[in-house]
């Protein structure tokens, strides 16, 4: 049984709090016995619950009291905490997002009493959030382009090699020509069905949206143009607006995707009839979005996705269709700065080791962005290849460090460790000549020099390749 009870009272318990603002209230403590409290912590957090794997974030933690409570004593402690700017409160079928104030009293040798109270948050940010995400995407764009080029090059090489192998094998056994020919015909037939048969009747179809970003209450606008080559009977031309919750539970082979369509509306642009040959048809696309729909959200395994699908339904023939992903963003009526995690953690990529950037600063930036995968990867990319003086608590040695891990030294091994402050998790690749030093370090602090080589996204660990003792301190 706990030695004290905690409760939280918000100053505006039924209010809707603006994102990025402040929330105030009182933590009440009643002690049943004499209690030594190592810290009465209160924090502002958000958390998902529902079908998807849980995502959460902590905005700020403050310690309100440290000391002694005596039996029968009741105390009240005021707090003021910042509220996250994103994600907004949301309650759906598969996904729920709630914001909470949580209090916890750290009591030695006893269960820590806890209290929690939820509140509703409405974002006050304008489209800047999406802009920030877009700028991140732009920075990642070059990396993505290089990556895509490499994949295209590899696929092209594989096709060439496959063709060469096919002709060599076919020369020895002509039956292979029939098998491969059948497969190619099947794939070609599918592509023809999907893409070319609709065009055969409808001619070239142009379909575009003016903007794929829209706020609740606004309209999605665009245009569909086509000019049939012959008489085309149709069941209709439609535009469908769909909002979905997409949540993923489990991982690996236990990974399950749950999808719930919470909003769907279909607008008939042209009823059933016949499209005349040579007559150009223009369909303005315009669908209003209700003012209270939820925004697009991407929280790892918990997403709200919006899309628009335009379809020309042709009876007894493959339909022509095109789908657009839409981003629903706040209207920006009370536009303020973007989320602190995005603005505060921007790091200019230093040019070299002489940049003056310390590992403490690097670890601090990564730690503060740890819930934002894209941001972390961008930061790690910025410091990739730089050498740092590092202090780390060694946690455990790896029996196996991963098949796709090229950083392991020959005759070396890998350990899981964490930085001293903040406790950023790391993978340290230890060269053979440092093995003894690591064995002796046990689980104490180890100091040395290493190069940042990447980010283990699965285990959320910074990958650092340690420099061997001969090269760690040159000169």
């Amino acid at each position: 049984m706990a030695k004290c009870d905690l409760s939280i009272t918000l100053d505006e318990p039924s209010g809707v709090y603006p994102g990025g603002g402040k929330i105030t209230g009182t933590v009440k403590v009643h002690a049943d016995a004499d209690v030594k409290c190592k810290g009465l912590d209160v924090q502002s957090v958000w958390k998902t619950h529902g079908r998807g794997n849980v995502a959460s974030g902590t905005v700020e933690t403050v310690t309100l009291f440290t000391g002694q409570w005596t039996a029968g004593q009741s105390e009240e402690y005021r707090f003021e905490l910042p509220i996250a700017e994103w994600p907004p409160s949301y309650h759906g079928n598969y996904l729920n997002i709630d914001h909470y104030i949580e209090a916890r009293a750290k009591i030695p040798w006893a269960f820590d009493p806890k209290a929690s109270v939820e509140f509703l948050m409405q974002p006050t940010c304008g489209p800047e959030i999406a802009d920030a995400q877009a700028s991140v995407s732009a920075k990642m764009g070059m990396i993505g382009w290089i990556f895509t080029s490499m994949i295209v090059f590899m696929v092209f090489g594989a096709i060439l090699a496959g063709c060469a192998g096919f002709f060599v094998a076919g020369a020895q056994n002509p039956f292979i020509f029939f098998i491969v020919g059948g497969i190619v015909t099947f794939i070609g037939g599918f592509i023809a069905m999907k893409y070319y048969l609709p065009k055969f009747l409808l001619g070239e179809v142009h379909c575009e949206l003016k903007s794929i970003r829209v706020s609740p209450g606004e309209q999605v606008n665009g245009e569909l143009k086509l000019q049939p080559r012959k008489n085309v009977p149709i069941n209709g031309v439609t535009m469908k607006f769909v909002g979905k919750e997409v949540c993923i539970s489990g991982s690996g082979s236990n990974r399950t995707t749950h999808s719930n369509t919470f909003y769907e509306t279909e607008t008939v642009l042209e009823p059933a009839g016949v499209l005349k040959p040579g007559v150009a048809k223009h369909f303005p696309l315009s669908v209003p979005l209700p003012g209270d729909v939820p925004y697009s959200i991407d929280l790892n395994d918990n997403d709200i996705k919006w899309s628009v699908e335009v379809r020309v339904d042709i009876p007894r023939w493959p339909d022509w269709s095109k789908s657009f992903d839409i981003t629903v963003v706040p209207s920006g009526k009370q536009a303020v700065a973007t989320t602190p995690t995005r603005t505060e953690t921007t790091v200019s990529p230093p040019a070299d080791d002489e940049s003056g950037l310390t590992f403490a600063e690097t670890a601090s930036h990564i730690w503060s962005s740890k819930d934002d995968k894209e941001q972390v990867e961008m930061l790690v990319d910025a410091v990739n290849g730089l050498n740092f003086d590092i202090e780390a608590f060694v946690e455990r040695r790896l029996l196996y460090s991963g098949e796709d891990d090229p950083h392991v030294y020959k005759d070396g091994y890998a350990v899981w460790a964490r930085y001293t402050d903040p406790p950023l998790p790391m993978v340290l690749y230890v060269p053979h000549d440092l093995a003894d030093e690591f064995e002796q370090a046990g689980r104490d602090v180890w100091s040395g020099r290493g190069t940042v080589v990447g980010w283990d996204s699965r285990h959320r660990r910074l990958q650092v390749k340690l420099l061997s003792s001969t090269s760690a301190f040159p000169g």
Partner: protein, 259 residues
């Protein structure tokens, strides 16, 4: 003031399903209906989320996904004997059983007794992830371990707990291990299932002084009749039931629609 804050959209309550009689016209699949949205300042939209859970004294759907720590805390399994068995080197304990029967839950529960134990899940069709050393090494889906890595792990001599679909006692014995095997899911009693499911409900309780809807033994019998010993499938089914019924004002009934 709260209503003013809602202008321009923001917090909404997306009605959950077709089954909800109170739902708006938002679900218009396959029709050309124009959506008529409710008033932006409607208190129903602001208050509904909190009210619907609060009226059943719940803070969330009890059968949704949990964090790993929550799974450890809520595991209804006795792994004392396993922890005792693997307290010596070159001891291996195998859990063999089909998906959804509780192999992973048992492994996570072991960390309650052995905090220094390490856990690795081997995904299908993906590279083998890092396997960390610990006072006990637990490997989930151990049948997927490539031979080379298996040899490295078995050569460590560390106590092992393996969840597997294939009996690995042969390679373990050849590596010098003493092996004990437990087949999971052959029996699941009504009372154990009731304990497992009600544990989750109680963990989602909003006010600890007030009561919450509970699953009865009759409910559990019906669930076992339908799903056998697949607890994961039962939880998935119950998630949808709770989601449908949480909007109603009546008592929550878990097996109303169970055939």
């Amino acid at each position: 003031m709260a209503c003013e804050a809602m202008r321009g959209g923001g917090i909404i309550y997306a009605h959950p399903s077709h089954h909800d009689s109170d739902s708006t016209t938002h679900m218009t699949r396959g029709t050309s209906t124009t959506i008529e949205s409710p008033p932006l300042t409607s208190n129903r939209w602001i208050g509904a989320p909190a009210q619907r859970w609060a009226s059943h004294n719940l803070s969330r759907n009890p059968f949704g996904e949990l964090t790993r720590q929550e799974r450890i805390e809520l595991a209804v399994v006795d792994v004392q004997a396993v922890a005792q068995f693997i307290s010596q080197p070159r001891r291996a304990y195998q859990f063999i059983g089909e998906c959804g029967r509780g192999k992973t839950t048992r492994m996570l529960a072991i960390t309650r007794h052995i905090p220094d134990a390490t856990y690795a899940y081997l995904p299908e069709d993906e590279p083998c992830p890092p396997i960390a050393a610990g006072s006990v090494v637990m490997i989930d889906e151990a049948q997927r371990m490539p031979r080379r890595i298996r040899q490295a792990v078995f050569a460590s001599g560390l106590p092992l707990v393996l969840a597997t679909h294939r009996n690995l006692s042969g390679p373990l014995r050849r590596a010098g291990y003493t092996v004990q095997t437990e087949r999971i899911g052959l029996q699941l009693s009504d009372s154990l299932l009731q304990q497992i499911l009600n544990q989750r409900i109680h963990a989602s309780r909003r006010d600890t002084e007030a009561s919450v809807p509970e699953i009865s033994l009759a409910d559990c019998r019906a669930l076992i009749r339908r799903f056998g010993t697949d607890v994961r499938a039962m939880e998935s089914y119950l998630y949808d039931i709770v989601q449908q019924q949480v909007n109603s004002h009546g008592k929550m009934r878990f097996i109303d629609h169970l055939g």
